[in-house]
């Protein structure tokens, strides 16, 4: 069986859930495998991250390098191509860093690339049977991945739920000497923090959230009317911000805000995983969508198959009548 690696990202020494999720995925590829975690960075943050990773993985390779202060995928790719043996299977989280690193890395390692994997069903004879989604989550697919020349897999955050950390008691090995030159043609400058708007949707108990089903800028008014009737705050999914119908500060999702309301009204929102990734704390979810196949109905508590353009004003009116 091929050697298994997981690249573990951290932010100022702090891991996110994907650190443990990648270990769960690795165990599905080979139960009991000696998975090597790779951690990069500098200084005390790197040491803190390595200690945390050693609680999950038996072996931790630490790489300290001035070019790795910020996780620049172009520099990290160069490092991984040097240190990961040919034929290995390497796991990454499917976040914006994994999306940046994975495709090019697979080419340089001459390995198969399976992105945004949500399930690992079977591994046998150098072949993995994986589960992915296509068409914005509207279709599931089994995908066969040839592992014979190695593979890079990116795993969707939240799809491989981890149990309690096992206390792996892993060994941290300082491999910084093997890094060598990591100069890249892309240089990190800064991170610009998201604008904070006039509204703070993260503090709202009730959100009236609209998506593509709103169809037209003029109809945004219907959401404001309903929010007013309910005593709620208006939020939205990505297409509404892309169209500039509502400000970025109102966007729920991995590329927007993470919210934890008591009640979430998903109106004309199909329910992509990027959107649902911004919804925490198990709210009571009401989904209204004219497409009965919309993925949002799988996660909602209550579903109503209606056109929101008719439903929203009717609901507002009824609430106002008391």
């Amino acid at each position: 069986m091929a050697q298994l690696f997981a690249y573990i990202a951290h932010k100022n020494g702090v891991l996110d859930d994907s650190a443990a999720e990648l270990a769960v995925a690795a165990a599905k590829i080979e139960a009991g495998a000696q998975v090597t975690a790779i951690v990069t960075g500098t200084g005390a943050d790197l040491d803190t991250a390595c200690q945390a990773v050693a609680g999950i993985y038996p072996v931790v390779w630490k790489f300290e390098h001035a070019d790795l202060v910020y996780p620049n995928a172009e520099a990290i790719r160069k490092l991984l191509v040097k240190v990961v043996p040919a034929g290995s299977i390497l796991l990454l989280a499917h976040d914006t860093f994994g999306m940046d690193l994975g495709p090019g890395l697979s080419v340089k390692l001459n390995a198969a690339y399976a992105p945004d994997v949500i399930g690992i069903e079977a591994v046998a004879d150098n072949k993995a049977s994986l589960v992915r989604q296509e068409y914005a989550g509207m279709a599931h697919a089994h995908v066969g991945c040839d592992l014979s020349g190695g593979a890079v897999l990116t795993l969707r955050p939240g799809s491989f739920q981890a149990g309690e950390d096992g206390g792996a008691g892993g060994q941290v090995q300082d491999k910084s000497g093997e890094a060598g030159d990591l100069s890249a043609k892309r240089r990190f400058v800064e991170v610009v923090q998201a604008e904070t708007g006039d509204v703070d949707i993260t503090k709202a108990d009730v959100l009236v959230s609209v998506g593509r089903g709103i169809e037209d800028q003029e109809n945004i008014e219907l959401a404001h009317d309903l929010a007013e009737a309910m005593g709620a705050v208006v939020s939205c999914s990505r297409p509404i911000v892309d169209a500039k119908w509502l400000e970025k500060a109102r966007q729920v999702g991995t590329s927007g805000k993470t919210v934890k309301p008591k009640v979430y009204m998903a109106l004309g929102i199909s329910g992509s995983f990027q959107h649902l990734g911004g919804l925490k704390g198990s709210p009571f979810i009401v989904a209204v969508n004219k497409n009965p196949k919309a993925p949002i109905f799988q996660v909602a508590d209550v579903g109503i198959v209606e056109d929101i353009l008719e439903f929203m004003p009717a609901l507002s009116e009824k609430i106002q009548e008391g």
Partner: protein
């Protein structure tokens, strides 16, 4: 600046309900409405805006069959100067890497300073841009939501990262960027615009034209293959409220009151 934008013709998920064929071999393709991949539209708009600011050309390319020509014409109606169709039976069944290999050959046939793709397409993989960059040994940045031209050989780019934050980098040209939606507001294309470019000739490049070895493309070379589509066993899902609109609303209001959703 000479810019190449790689585009794809896809079923429009905003217009279609995607249904899986009963044998799982494909989605139901009868009556599907196709359009240009949404992300690609933003990439073409961005390319046109850069060209209009600093000069140069915008070329759009797709790997597909004759039907894919319609998306090239649409993007030319937006303002792209030229379209190229890479079509050959040997390309069929290619995985992302095979498509990237075709595009690499196309790029080496021309001379481009900047290549753009959409950040994602219908298969949700987001892979071709990054693979292409690695094959060309050009730098790459994904999910780009801002581009600023800095002289002849460098761009300042913003990547959309988690939480809506923006990671800003300087990247040397030539480079490959995958473009996120929302970077601009793509212009509207009317029927008259499409008519204007209806008779413009679109060159078709085959594998032989591009000098592509057959073992780099097609189903036989693919290391990652879709086996089938399936309908997963789901949990109970939502309690679907039935009845007339009024009945649904009454039930919902009752529930919202119980859950603290009404003040």
């Amino acid at each position: 600046m000479d810019i190449l934008v790689c585009v794809k013709r896809v079923p429009d998920t905003a217009e279609n309900e995607i249904q899986i064929k009963s044998d799982g071999s494909d989605i139901e393709r009868d009556d599907l409405v196709y359009s240009v991949n949404e992300w690609d539209n933003y990439a073409v708009e961005e390319a046109i805006q850069i060209r209009d600011k600093v000069g140069g050309t915008v070329t759009v390319v797709t790997v597909g069959d004759e039907e894919a020509e319609e998306v090239l014409r649409r993007e030319m109606a937006m303002g792209a100067d030229k379209g190229i169709l890479d079509a050959d039976e040997i390309f069929q069944g290619s995985d992302g890497r095979g498509i990237a290999a075709v595009l690499k050959a196309e790029i080496e046939k021309g001379k481009y300073d900047l290549v753009m793709t959409g950040a994602l397409a219908d298969d949700g993989a987001g892979q071709v841009g990054g693979m292409l960059a690695a094959m060309l040994d050009w730098p790459y940045a994904s999910v780009v939501n801002r581009i600023e031209v800095q002289g002849d050989s460098q761009l300042k780019v913003g990547r959309e990262i988690e939480g809506g934050n923006q990671e800003v980098s300087e990247i040397q040209m030539p480079c490959v960027l995958s473009i996120q939606t929302g970077i601009n507001e793509p212009r509207y294309v009317g029927i008259r615009g499409i008519r204007k470019v209806a008779s413009v000739e679109i060159p078709v490049h085959s594998g032989a034209d591009l000098g592509i070895a057959a073992d780099l493309v097609g189903a036989a070379s693919a290391k990652v293959k879709r086996v089938d589509y399936f309908t997963p066993e789901m949990g109970a899902g939502a309690e679907i409220l039935e009845g007339s609109m009024e009945e649904k609303i009454d039930k919902l209001i009752e529930m919202l009151k119980a859950k603290g959703g009404l003040k």
